[in-house]
Subunit: 277 residues, 4 copies
């Protein structure tokens, strides 16, 4: 029997849980997992329910839309592997980590392609029989290059775009083309050290802990909703290259954990923040 | 308006969430917070709901008991500060941490008394105008001493007994007298290093991380359901006393965090494990 | 036999370790502990050696000064408890943690006095028989208030001044009066969230990890050399007050760890960073 | 100019650092890095010095042996990549992590071969142009199988043997054949959950933190000197498979970090513990 993931984003009101569970019960559906969160400041209500049984998606959505407040966002996704496209530049640690998980069957996704702005990673990617596209940014305008990348991505119609240490700055057009579909790993513990060379910045500041942050991409560089973060201890004996080495371990685990949350439809966004259920 | 905490421990079945939310809705009660967990292996269902409104406890419990499976455990506690009694021996770090939180109003509990088997901590406790009782274990049988301690505890009818580095081993009688009411902090990262001198054991083993564990006390030493744990890094340069010094920081934070979870009625127990909602 | 701590801050050159160890050996002194660090970028050399034996401080310093490069900084401190003065405002968690350690004999320092800008903490401090001075900042200029505080501090001639959630902003005059003597705990993971209300800032940004940072105070707010940092996980369900509650646990442990490093003369400063040996 | 790593393991005595640094100075050698540790309980002295200059290894070793106590262990290794052989079984996460680092040039080693007791990993390994040998253990005695594996390893004369989730239990013969050359990753936070299925054990115990441990292999299963450990938080909602998933991230980072320490000659062993300089 197929499983579906019901995602509700609405305003809290009396009887919400009752109304939703009544509809599920009336349709003879099983609740496999259920989690809710109410944000007291904004009165926002979020719910993620994994259901199984004889699901009639259209009917169920109709009933839920009728029962819930007018401006609710309700999604009903059949549990399945999502198609993803990965963007990369030269560094292999994050991309490589995804590829190893992929061939092991651990990644709940179909990697449709890898797009990079250098040839450097072609060998690695093609070992795994994944289409690799090099779209160099040399000798062209940022927007022109990005249009080529957008075009290539769209050939694969992915649900998610994963920036695996893709070092090109994205324009608002890119963000607008793929709203809430772009996952980035920034090699610092945001909001510290935004922008370029965060390991050099961290080394300069003399911090004793560094980290990495996975977030949705928005128009503002490194300012998007944070999905997952982690840290590692460093000390005075670390050169910035040592910090980068230690940080790379964190980057790949953080990106992978964040991607897994997205693949399981666990992430809601509001007010530039995430709710993870 | 008073808040109540509804705690349900039962077996999962279709319509559970529907039935419970229907009763709450029918009684015009607000759901402030709600969290559930189903354990797939055992089919156990746990739910913690903070409700507000015009609550009629007896009526509500009656309705819930009729709606839920026969062997369900349903509790409805009015949100309030719990009375606690603390047991200690000589070390002051865990007890002192609780006292500082207490006078700051951060601890959601009433510390009714501190009972110790040495005089050592009297000065500290009496600074905070809390009754201190020294019940020495010298020159008497373990059971005799424990009976005196039990008697003294019962004068205060606490809901929780907190062992703040209380170093006496408790007999099954003690555990039976206060079932699921006794919180202990063990100075290791269980199940490693049970028993005496865990820091010496840790030092001997040459671990690179040590920790502390807060758990419910059961008949088996250090084997009870774990509520909270945390760790700290150590290295070869740490003597066992250095490990103890670092470990003490973890002990007091872990004990305090676990106590807070108990005071907020967030902890369910089954199969010697805890579910924290 | 007394122990001395030898601290050397100089430029790396061939034979440095040889020259220093030759002098120690020639004076028949024992090396209890020794640690060095060379920063490759700046060629700075730092050394901390705990020595015991029949130490003639003046003679030893003279020999070392003659053997080392001209601009070296060499200190020879007899191992002893340092006098400290604590500044606080209203929050008790950091101060209270220090007081508990103090009466337990764990703090390698003499707390000479606590100075606060409110009466609020008097009761707590006086329980521990420590002089408490309230110097209110109401109805006076910042500089005037600070002069009163400086004057009071100087009555005690402390080696270190510990800001235990002292919320007044210090002027450059204060920093200049007590160069490299002022330890502060900032309730964020620097350099994130400098300034006021870091927990509100953190909550607004939607971070999944918060922290605290102990640092030397300099003219620039929250920009001084970092000594120790630590973090704790949070999530979407944390209000900013929940973050503050969790953060306070980190603040007090971080401040205490940093203070211990200073009391053991383990901290060197250069280029606004610390080397911890 | 080549760099050498000098490793000294001896008993502490007056003038040790002086004698060693005198010899280095007299030979006009530069000290790039230096770290020492004295264990007070046993009076053991450990030192790791990275030196550069015109090194005459035989001469230097002769002078050091003459200057140091009789039973000292002195090694002088030219800084170079070590040859390693990896043993694996079916899981790919640890092996794959090493392969990705390898082709990126991050691993300071030459992977001479991978030996596994199943064919499963052949495809993955051969993508990276590394010799793969499958030596099945089916239908043969443990010792017979192990002899075949030992024979194959010895063809490559590796300095280190890395067990990357190699699930065969090694006999004392194996350990004796490769003394202090075998690095293992155990999927628990030792000494908790030794032996088989540590994730099931951890799940059964209801721990809130799990971890992984890299250690030297000795005759006693999972009892060898610990080199590196790390942990990750889990909770009641984790099935044992969820714990394994989270734990695998820790396993590969821990193994990789430990391997790096070994490749840099940073690890001393005594009394079944490690000193990391």
């Amino acid at each position: 029997m197929k499983e579906y993931i019901l995602l509700i984003d609405t305003h809290d009101s009396k009887g919400l849980v009752y109304n939703v569970s009544k509809i599920l019960f009336a349709n003879n559906l099983n609740i496999e997992t259920n989690a809710e969160f109410v944000d007291k400041d904004t009165n926002k209500f979020f719910m993620r329910t994994v259901i199984s049984g004889d699901v009639n998606p259209n009917l169920l959505l109709k009933e839920l839309n009728e029962a819930l407040p007018k401006d609710s966002t309700i999604k009903l996704n059949q549990k399945s592997k999502k198609d993803i496209v990965i963007l990369a530049t030269k560094e292999s640690h994050v991309l490589g980590d995804l590829l190893i998980r992929y061939i092991d069957g651990e990644l709940d996704a179909n990697i449709k392609a890898v797009i990079a702005n250098h040839e450097y990673l072609r060998d690695l990617v093609e070992k795994f029989d994944i289409p690799f596209h090099c779209i160099s940014a040399d000798d062209m305008e940022r927007e022109t290059h990005e249009d080529l990348v957008i075009e290539k991505i769209q050939e694969y119609t992915p649900e998610l775009i994963v920036l695996a240490k893709y070092m090109r700055i994205l324009t608002p057009k890119f963000v607008k083309t793929f709203p809430k579909q772009v996952l980035n790993i920034h090699h610092s513990f945001l909001p510290a050290f935004i922008g370029a060379n965060p390991y050099k910045q961290a080394h300069h500041r003399g911090v004793k802990i560094i980290g990495a942050t996975a977030h949705y991409v928005t128009d503002d560089l490194d300012e998007g909703p944070i999905i997952f973060q982690d840290v590692v201890n460093v000390d005075h004996s670390y050169s910035w290259q040592d910090m980068r080495r230690a940080g790379r371990n964190v980057e790949k685990i953080v990106l992978s954990n964040a991607l897994q949350l997205l693949l399981e439809d666990r992430v809601f966004v509001y007010e530039n923040k995430t709710v993870i259920l």
